[in-house]
């Protein structure tokens, strides 16, 4: 790594090495699981397509669409997967389920519910937030009015403006004061 010649190449190598490590770990953990639960994997792969589409289509870095659709989508797959786990966890059972339109309806219907949540909840939350903010603004306005009433308008002006005002006031007073002097 201290070799100046190889310095430029080491970094990408290390980076790809890190990514490669994760990938290897993923393969070591997931591959036996996939192989062990192939029917469930197939069912999920087919059933989670709406979530996958949501993930791919969502431009939000937080992937909020897929984060909303996926949990409900999973709920649509889960009854069939559990059914397989309970009775026959085979590729045949999986294919049988996939051949049933009701399965598709439930899985994709659940995804649709997820999409519905994704589209309906944010406006409701927005309206709620706006109402809450407006209510707080009213409270703040009332507080400002109360402070102004108790401490006078000077409470609202900036430090510089207050300083200027005090100076001008002092000047006006001292100019106005010698009314007696003028007489004298």
């Amino acid at each position: 790594m201290t070799d100046g010649k190889s310095h430029g190449k080491k970094k990408p190598h290390k980076a790809s090495g890190g990514g490669g490590g994760a990938f290897v770990t993923f393969l070591l953990v997931v591959t036996p699981a996939v192989l062990f639960a192939m029917p469930t994997t197939v069912l999920a792969a087919v059933g989670m397509i709406p979530s996958l589409v949501a993930y791919v289509a969502d431009r939000d870095p937080a992937k909020s669409a897929s984060m909303t659709v996926a949990p409900i989508n999973v709920c649509g797959i889960l009854p069939f997967a559990m059914d397989m786990w309970k009775h026959q966890h085979t590729m045949q059972a999986a294919m049988h389920l996939l051949g049933d339109p009701l399965t598709w309806l439930v899985m994709y219907g659940a995804a649709a519910v997820g999409w519905a949540l994704y589209f309906l909840i944010p406006p409701i939350v927005t309206n709620f937030e706006v109402m809450r903010a407006e209510s707080r603004i009213e409270v703040l306005t009332a507080k400002k009015a109360e402070l102004t009433e108790e401490w006078g308008p000077d409470v609202a002006i900036s430090d510089e403006a207050l300083l200027e005002k005090n100076k001008a006031s002092a000047q006006a007073q001292s100019l106005g004061a010698p009314s007696g002097q003028a007489k004298a």
């Binding site: 909020s64 994704y118 944010p122 409701i124 937030e129 703040l140 400002k144 006078g152 002092a170 001292s174």
Partner: protein, 686 residues
């Protein structure tokens, strides 16, 4: 009695304002404003009948001073102590309520003369007083009076036939009063020596017994002739004639004076005060010793005249006098070297030429040629030419021991005070003293006193300036503020009482302070520090101004144990808005305002100060105000942030809305999954 038309209105006003109810001076005297005695009117005010309330109950009258003439406060006590049958006895003096209690006046109580005046007027003719009456009645009485005055160091300044009365059954003459005005203030130029005659009435100085001797000499001439021998001459012409020919030659001239009187009159009319007869020479003459007075020494005459403003002058005194009256022409003459040449060649006086050259030096060195520089140069040159004459500057002619009085005169007559201020500022009195051929020890302390007040002139603002010099140089002068002009306040307690009375007037000033009041208090109440008066300078915080004012008044009230002054306190409270404004909290402000109103009605100034100047309350209020400002700022910032937030609903939708949606989805997913799991586990197969 002499009467100056300028003061006739003032006397008439004072007479009118008096009302008709008797007013008292303590339990000693009573003035009867309903009974005017015009025959005894003085230059300083009208006369009224008066009653003594105790004692020997002799006939008396009161002179009510209108304030149009500077008072002669320094000599009143001494004059009261004079008990001479030849002079009108000053019985008492003090302040009485006037104008139905809406004002105060100084009242002088005199024993009322029973006989007539020796002469009613100086302009008309009258019977001459017989020689033997002059010798037996007038001279002995007056000799005793002059002796008494000389012994007490008092100058009468008003000796003239119109101010003399015959006593009952020709027992002598009674010299009229001199207590109501400064010496020589109302004296016609005829009765004054040249130096004093040249001065304006307020600038004649303290005078001396020699000036009274001169006036007595002229009086003898007028009485003996039964007329004023120079009544057809103007004052200016009379002074010129006295300078050119000498007083005796001018006044007596070719008139036939009784032989016995020639010698004393000649002695008393000598223009050189060192040669003039004093009381001792007069007494020697009275005792029969014959003296031979010198002839008046006339000013040294030049071999050729100097022409100035179309007139020819032959001597220095005449030149100085003409210069003072024609300043621009005189300046041209001085700067052109004509005066120098005339002094060296015409008068052959090299020394005087040098003195005049040094007098003009500061003007020659001056970078600017303002009118005051020219005026100063001419004034200095005039002093060098005629050292005994008054300081003549911008229309004022003032002897150095009368600068303060001249200033007071300018103020009370509402004339310009600037010339007198400049006389002090240019240090002309010190120069006058410098050019005296013989030292004037009696004037030196007065000039030094003027030097000491000179710095006060240079400081602006109430409590300093020309008004402060006025009160420093006139220790007995009342406060001339228009706010209390009707109340004749001569001391700080008087002033507070006057302000209390003035507070009830509907047209009172905005606040009970002006330059006169500040200067009067600074000069009369020595315990006050000048720093306190700096708070009245323009630009100083009004709160400090008001608290300083209450501090000063409060100090006087406590030190002199003055009764409560609710009117003055309320007046001060009416200008206290800036002090209330110091409390930002409206409730605190109202509390303090009510407290001030309560304390003001009790009339205690120190309490008033405590009410508005509580440091702890002010500190608490300031801290509360700072906290409130912080809260307000926070509220504004939060409001702004919320407004910005709700203005961008898309952002809320995309952030919070979607987060909430995904959280709900997750919760729902977990709940449904758990439910399904339990159903499958405990509910059997599909």
């Amino acid at each position: 009695m002499p009467s100056d038309p300028q003061f006739a209105d003032t006397r008439a006003d004072a007479r009118k304002d008096g009302g008709s109810e008797p007013v008292r001076l303590g339990d000693r005297y009573e003035v009867l404003p309903g009974q005017p005695l015009t025959a005894f009117d003085g230059i300083a005010g009208p006369a009224f009948a008066a009653r003594m309330l105790r004692g020997r109950r002799s006939e008396c009258f009161a002179l009510i001073l209108s304030g149009g003439v500077p008072p002669r406060g320094d000599a009143l006590s001494t004059l009261m102590s004079i008990d001479n049958p030849g002079i009108m006895k000053l019985l008492d003096f003090g302040h009485v309520e006037w104008n139905q209690g809406a004002g105060r006046r100084q009242a002088l109580f005199f024993e009322r003369p029973m006989g007539r005046r020796l002469m009613a007027s100086l302009t008309g003719g009258a019977d001459s007083v017989p020689d033997d009456q002059i010798m037996r009645v007038v001279i002995p009485s007056m000799a005793a009076v002059l002796r008494d005055l000389a012994g007490r160091g008092i100058t009468h300044g008003g000796i003239r036939p119109t101010n003399m009365f015959l006593r009952e059954s020709n027992a002598g003459v009674l010299l009229g009063e001199c207590a109501s005005a400064p010496p020589g203030y109302g004296q016609p130029a005829l009765f004054e020596p040249v130096e004093r005659a040249m001065a304006t009435p307020g600038g004649r100085g303290r005078g001396s017994i020699l000036d009274d001797m001169y006036a007595f000499g002229v009086t003898l001439v007028v009485l003996a002739l039964g007329r004023n021998p120079v009544h057809d001459m103007s004052d200016e012409a009379l002074i010129d004639a006295k300078i050119d020919k000498g007083s005796f030659a001018t006044i007596v001239g070719n008139a036939r004076l009784p032989q016995d009187l020639v010698e004393p009159v000649r002695g008393m009319l000598l223009d050189d005060s060192k040669q003039r007869w004093g009381v001792n020479q007069f007494d020697l003459w009275l005792s029969g010793r014959r003296l031979s007075p010198k002839q008046s020494q006339l000013p040294k005459r030049a071999v050729r005249p100097l022409e100035l403003a179309g007139r020819e002058v032959w001597h220095c005194r005449g030149l100085a006098r003409l210069m003072a009256a024609n300043v621009p022409a005189a300046a041209t003459l001085i700067e052109g070297g004509d005066v120098d040449r005339w002094l060296r060649r015409g008068l052959s006086d090299e020394l005087l030429a040098e003195t005049v050259a040094s007098a003009a030096e500061p003007a020659a060195a001056a970078t600017s040629r303002s009118s005051s520089v020219v005026d100063r140069m001419v004034a200095r040159v005039a002093m060098a030419l005629d050292p005994h004459a008054p300081i003549r500057y911008r229309g004022k002619a003032v002897l150095p021991d009368s600068i303060g009085l001249a200033l007071a005169d300018s103020f009370v007559r509402r004339e310009a005070t600037q010339p007198v201020a400049e006389i002090i500022a240019w240090q002309l009195p010190a120069y006058w003293l410098n050019v005296q051929p013989e030292g004037k020890v009696e004037v030196a302390p007065l000039v030094q006193a003027l030097e000491s007040v000179h710095p006060l002139l240079e400081r602006a603002g109430p409590g300093f300036g020309i008004e402060r010099v006025l009160y420093e140089t006139n220790p007995h002068l009342q406060c001339l503020s228009p706010v209390v002009s009707d109340f004749h306040a001569a001391t700080p307690p008087d002033l507070l009482t006057a302000l209390e009375l003035a507070s009830a007037q509907s047209d009172r000033a905005r606040e009970p302070l002006d330059r006169h009041i500040a200067a009067f208090l600074a000069a009369r109440h020595r315990r006050l520090e000048d720093a306190l008066f700096l708070q009245f300078m323009p630009g100083v915080d009004p709160v400090r101004r008001i608290t300083a004012l209450i501090s000063i008044f409060g100090d006087i009230q406590v030190r002199f144990s003055i009764d409560p002054l609710p009117g003055l306190c309320r007046w001060l409270a009416s200008v206290m808005d800036p002090t209330f404004a110091r409390f930002h909290n409206r409730k605190n402000r109202e509390v303090v305002r009510k407290q001030v109103e309560k304390v003001a009605s009790e009339g205690k100034l120190p309490e008033l100060l405590r009410a508005v100047d509580d440091p702890e309350a002010i500190r608490k209020d300031a801290m509360g105000f700072a906290g409130a400002r912080r809260d307000y700022k926070r509220a504004v910032a939060e409001g702004e942030r919320l407004r910005e937030k709700i203005a961008d609903t898309v952002s809320i939708t995309e952030t919070v809305g979607r987060q909430v949606a995904s959280v709900i989805a997750w919760l729902l997913g977990i709940a449904v999954s758990a439910l399904l799991g339990m159903m499958i586990m405990f509910g059997g197969s599909r």
